[in-house]
Symmetry: C3
Subunit: 152 residues, 3 copies
């Protein structure tokens, strides 16, 4: 936010609408980092002590270091002609008294192999607890539920 914070002007970036917009932008940037193979920068959008839980994983991943290692491992086997695009949408946010924000989003994972038509690889639900990081945010805890594996 480039607006000067004075006594007369409300501190921008702290109303719920402003938080909503920041988190929308955060997810867009985070998806691009992952999809463009910038895995270290992607991992840096999580806190050092983060947890990442998924109903497709045998157990939660804990710490940014472990998250990065697992992600690098997973993408080692990607074929070069495969493009992956993560689409966040239908996000709702709940700011909490401790300054964190709970956010629930739908996430579609679109895959596109070379010279083939794109398709929806996964439809998932993402629940995050986010913490402030200056004017942006970091994910502290993420839970991903793939729709084809859940009753909810």
């Amino acid at each position: 936010m480039s607006v000067t914070d004075t006594e007369l002007v409300p501190s921008l970036g702290t109303t719920e609408d402003e938080i909503y917009l920041q988190i929308q932008r955060f997810y867009a940037a985070q998806s691009q980092l992952l999809d463009f193979g910038r895995f270290e920068e992607w991992a840096a959008t999580f806190t050092e002590d983060c947890s990442f839980t998924a109903n497709g994983f045998p157990q939660p991943v804990r710490t940014r270091t472990a998250l990065l290692a697992g992600t690098l491992q997973n993408h080692k086997v990607d074929e070069p002609g495969l493009r992956i695009r993560h689409w966040f949408g239908m996000t709702t946010v709940e700011p909490r008294a401790d300054g964190t924000v709970y956010a629930l989003s739908y996430v579609l994972v679109i895959r596109n192999h070379r010279n083939e038509p794109p398709f929806i690889y996964r439809s998932t639900r993402c629940e995050d607890v986010l913490v402030r990081n200056g004017n942006s945010w970091l994910v502290r805890d993420r839970i991903i539920r793939r729709d084809e594996l859940t009753d909810e």
Copy 2:
């Protein structure tokens, strides 16, 4: 909006950009209520005297009571392993002189059966007339056009 409304600060929530963001958030919350089976709360996002018209329905549904009854009936037959996700996007808004807002959105309906890949079940266009409800909105009139049934 948590900003205190004073004479020095513009009344937030009333500029077109603010209305846009509110309506975007409204659609996200509304979709989650429907998709997570919270049908009474979903119906409560429409006015009591609402109309809901669709090119897939034989005739418009009128009143929130009838909308809820029809929706409960439709979802009775859903298989337990079916997840449905409504994605609103490409929304445009036109605030009108009477305080209502006309909004036109695209809506994708994604379906995911258990242990199967997700797919786009419907691509539709949604036209709403929304009325203010405190800091949020209610749908007074909705028209849904399924893309495979329309020439527009």
Copy 3:
């Protein structure tokens, strides 16, 4: 923006969050113009001296006049029962010192033939340089990369 610009109130529409929201709205309106066959109005969302480059085109298209001519030509052959929907998402923006904005978005093109299910026709990446046009924006330079044709 309908807020009066005074010395006490920051000039709305110029912070990065406000620019982000404007550009989001711009893409929604632009997609509707294209998808609803309003090709002249769609072309008017580009500057007169625009360039439009795509990895599916033999060479860049230059000027709004040429862009409109090519677009009218392309859509002449559309079957009447075909609906096309452009979904922009995961947009990031970078305001630049010269007042332009660089924006990178994902774009899905959904197609729906009459009485058939919708499908994703293309998954692409869109890079724009946008210039201010009053309270809205115009595209000066656009590069589209279809995901199935790119290694990035």
